[in-house]
Symmetry: C2
Subunit: 321 residues, 2 copies
């Protein structure tokens, strides 16, 4: 939620001169994007978002992310479309950073989604999975099973300062996940970070999906599990079955889950809760002095994990029999 | 440069329902405004800025600020126009804060103004002074002579930790300012904070002035002095006489400075440099842990003050003989 890199008006004008989108009328740093710097940009030709990639994004991954957005937009998905410069390149450099201009999407991120929003989100997620099927590039999910142990190693010694017993709970859970993690599920492009701030609505309709910078190749049902975690719990960590039902029905109306995916859903929910608990825990324990971003609470996901540990069947998430 | 107060989509929709400006299409927190929270707001009827006043703004001052903006806009000055709600009130409440919706101004803030920008700024400043002459409300300048000693008292003991000798230099300068501070100069509404980030340009023209939250009743020439400090120094604290000339000529083309104002300009420059040195010093010494805003360097204004101390006549700022 911050502007990490300041762009001067001269730098911006020079950068825009390499594009065919007019001259700048106004630009304002926007308080979105934990990973990157974003400006809202109005030119004589329209509205755009200017993104500068900060150090947390690996430059080598940018062709995958930008190519994916272009692919999905071509398939009719409402997602930001990277604008190519006069040389046909979507990726440029500005203020010492890799930078892109993407189209502006209208819509608002709902902070407290209703069941209706969850149903629409489920449908949009399934469409994303289908639209990605013929995208030629692949990117392994660095934040799945194999990534969790190294993450935990960074936080293990201090974990109990955050919550008593957290280290032991996590150790045991990681062992179980390793033992039971499913393989061979239907896979392809997943968003992998489809939290409420990355989904825009106009009224009850999804108007766009944004922030593809965790997108990767992994099991579709893992993406469903991430969304169950992000959309269907209440603030007190209770699971809202009505929202779960709505989301899963919305998803299945577009793409039916296979039996193996249904069976794996509880363990995938545990795994995805583990993923967000761990990255939040590492961030929580490593807040730099003077940080611009307030870290998110890892214990929210520890509590969700505890819920999932008691789930025996995907029905408990609201999946039809 | 931060969003201090998060506004949920439900809160925003309910707030907008009290206005006659359509329904929300998108809104994004913008990284502008050190004192307030600002959202860029797009509704079915147009573009706006939504401002939530944070604790540093005294609510009792808001009718003055909002009334002034409405007055200036009516006089043809390009400044944000507070939009009245269905009850005819510009001021509402949102997320527990006083809040207004103001019209969106196009234009970009130049980070490194040229002499041409300075000339245009001088003209815009003089127009502001003329446009304010029949505004009925008054607000004393809390950050002029009488306000400096209490500010310094908050910082004096630690001043030398910022720069060796700063406490003694400041004590001596405050005594001189008290002795020589001019009275009876032509006065009226001044902006009092017209830094480059508060002036928008489209090409070489000023397209708008914003951020009237330090506006008050004081000597016009004090506002000129603030702008000489803010616009005509280079990054190495050297004074750019070409820019000074351009700004003063731009100002005088609209409103001629009187002899008493010309004579007072050097001491007004010292005083206004003192004002920004002191507020920055206090902020510098009181950065809360986890602060979202990086404090500005007080020594920039200590160096400018040192320049002004050696000025004998307004000619040295570029004023025609």
């Amino acid at each position: 939620m911050a502007v990490y890199t300041e762009v001067t008006d001269e730098e911006l004008s020079a950068f825009l001169a390499t594009y065919d989108i007019g001259t700048v009328l106004s630009y304002k740093g926007i308080a979105e994007g934990v990973e990157n710097t974003n400006y809202f940009l109005h030119t004589t030709q329209g509205f755009y978002i200017l993104t500068l990639y900060e150090k947390r994004v690996n430059e080598a991954d940018l062709p995958f992310f930008l190519g994916l957005m272009q692919h999905l937009a071509k398939r009719g998905l409402n997602c930001p479309l990277p604008v190519s410069n006069r040389e046909g390149e979507p990726l440029g450099r500005l203020a010492g950073r890799p930078a892109v201009i993407i189209t502006f999407l209208e819509g608002i991120a709902v902070r407290r989604p209703t069941a209706q929003h969850c149903a629409a989100l489920g449908g949009a997620l399934a469409k994303l999975h289908l639209a990605g099927h013929d995208f030629a590039m692949a990117r392994p999910n660095a934040l799945s099973l194999d990534g969790w142990a190294p993450l935990f190693a960074q936080a293990e010694a201090q974990a109990d300062t955050v919550s008593s017993g957290l280290a032991e709970r996590t150790r045991r859970e990681l062992e179980n996940l390793k033992k039971d993690w499913p393989v061979g599920l239907p896979s392809g492009i997943i968003h992998a970070d489809l939290f409420t701030d990355n989904v825009f609505f106009i009224g009850p309709q999804v108007s766009g999906l944004i922030d593809f910078y965790f997108a990767c190749t992994d099991a579709f049902a893992y993406d469903v599990a991430i969304c169950l975690n992000a959309w269907c719990f209440e603030a007190d960590a209770s699971f809202n079955l009505t929202k779960g039902r709505a989301m899963l029905a919305g998803y299945q109306a577009v793409r039916a889950l296979e039996p193996a995916e249904v069976e794996a859903l509880p363990i995938l929910c545990r795994g995805s809760a583990m993923r967000f608990m761990l990255t939040r825990l590492v961030d929580w324990l490593n807040v730099p002095p003077g940080a611009l971003v307030k870290p998110k609470d890892p214990l929210e996901y520890d509590r969700k994990l505890n819920f999932h540990r008691h789930v025996k069947h995907a029905r408990e998430y609201g999946l039809g029999a």
